[in-house]
Assembly symmetry: C3
């Protein structure tokens, strides 16, 4: 993994941990609770990916991820007494960046474990959206990623583009950069132009 | 795995995916959200089973399950604009069939991984009810399977019967068919005769 | 594992299973639902630990844990028709005992799988609090352990003390006993003197 990817990955973890810690602020959690929520948001997706792949769970062997989450949580608790201190625009762009990066890195890792193309794209999607899904389940709300503008769809696109560029022979850095750019642009388009896929809805009465 | 079992398994995945997709229709999920909910309902139980067994997660190597879920979700979104189009009676019987089948197949798989009899029955139960459990957790409701008429109990019976018939030397197809029939009958009896185990209840004030 | 530790562990499982079964009494679950909730509370944390460690999940090879949960659930259903029959004080102390024990045993097991010190402490914490976390997620409430007086913090202390005592050369029984005592005292202090870490709170409006 190149130095650039490594620091981008750490940045993604910080952003996702911040998103979990900020949500914790709505629920009067104690500092440990803040850290748990920050941690599941930041590394939950990658943990599920590694368990399904049968790979060593990445943060158990690379403890710097744990430390990054620890310090991000502490910094959130001490410095961010007003949520306004973190501009929405920054959070949206940073979160979209983390989503795109995690999706592509997850797809890349699955391919390196000899998974099929379809499984790799799913693994990328799980890496990108899994943390936010668990965060919302713990906080007892219908996961936003299931109904938000082109959220998981962007993660799937990132994985699919990486697989395609890799297949036609682009180098890993080039394939990864282009795939990330594609996912990021789709997600930002979803946010700023309010692009959404049409919601599926009816009031059904089936009790199953 | 025989051809019959294979197609029965695919049918079970379709039914469970349909059940997840129909639930999604109550929550205004976007199409991807529908697929996620369909997928966790259909393969969530088997995924937990395979992770605990240390087996390769089945859908990562047999991608046709993923495609089946994809097309079931699409078909639900495009064709089922009225939940009445899927008769309750059909859903109940199909769901009971899926439950019985998954429970027996899960027990069979655990035994083939040299698990104890008791562990195998639990694995069968997890295979049968795990997907519905995760679906309900994501949708933020107390899982129906924990209080519904003889639901998980039927899965346990299926697993226990398979273990017993296997032990006394029945062939796998015979043991499996009889065990499935037993689980299916118990579940249908629960539905149509409103048979339930007595609920355990008190208003307790213990905060732990 | 010494005989003392073994029986202490079984006692911890009984207490946690009882805690899950008592919670089930609030939701009109059927007897199987009671068992599921008792089981996830009692062995959920250790199951996640073993899956992350890549170890065989302990209850799949030591089925006596399953039997203990089964009989604890049955006994709860038949004998405890009034929650007052289980004094709060007993539940609090027994639960604190289980938490301290599970945290230290989980840390010990992770170290025996060659994990880093930091990973081992996290594994101990997951072992101690994971079951209660899943129980609360299933029951659709914000997990108490994330906001309760020094709950998970006590588990972390237990793990950290065990690592420290082990590092300076104490025998396993001595290191384990002292670490358990430390975690137990901190948790009981949290309960009886209402010691809490300050909650992190604001009403934020960030939608992410």
């Amino acid at each position: 993994m190149s130095t650039f990817i490594y620091f981008a990955d750490i940045f993604g973890v910080i952003v996702f941990a911040l998103s979990g810690a900020l949500l914790a602020g709505r629920f009067r959690l104690d500092p440990f609770g803040v850290m748990v929520l920050a941690a599941v948001t930041a590394v939950g997706g990658g943990t599920i990916r590694d368990i399904i792949l049968g790979a060593p769970v990445f943060w158990t062997v690379q403890n710097e991820y744990v430390l990054v989450i620890f310090f991000t949580s502490l910094a959130t608790i001490f410095f961010i007494r007003q949520p306004k201190l973190v501009p929405k625009r920054f959070m949206h762009i940073a979160d979209a960046f983390g989503l795109a990066l995690f999706a592509v890195l997850g797809t890349h890792k699955a391919l390196s474990y000899d998974q099929t193309i379809l499984t790799a794209i799913i693994m990328g999607t799980i890496t990108g959206v899994g943390g936010g899904l668990i965060r919302d389940i713990i906080c007892n709300r219908i996961p936003l990623i299931l109904r938000q503008e082109i959220y998981a769809t962007a993660a799937m696109l990132g994985g699919a583009l990486y697989v395609a560029f890799d297949y036609i022979g682009f180098s890993e850095p080039l394939a990864g950069s282009l795939a990330m750019a594609g996912a990021l642009i789709l997600r930002l388009a979803g946010i700023y132009w309010k692009v959404s896929l049409p919601a599926f809805h009816f009031d059904d009465e089936i009790k199953d």
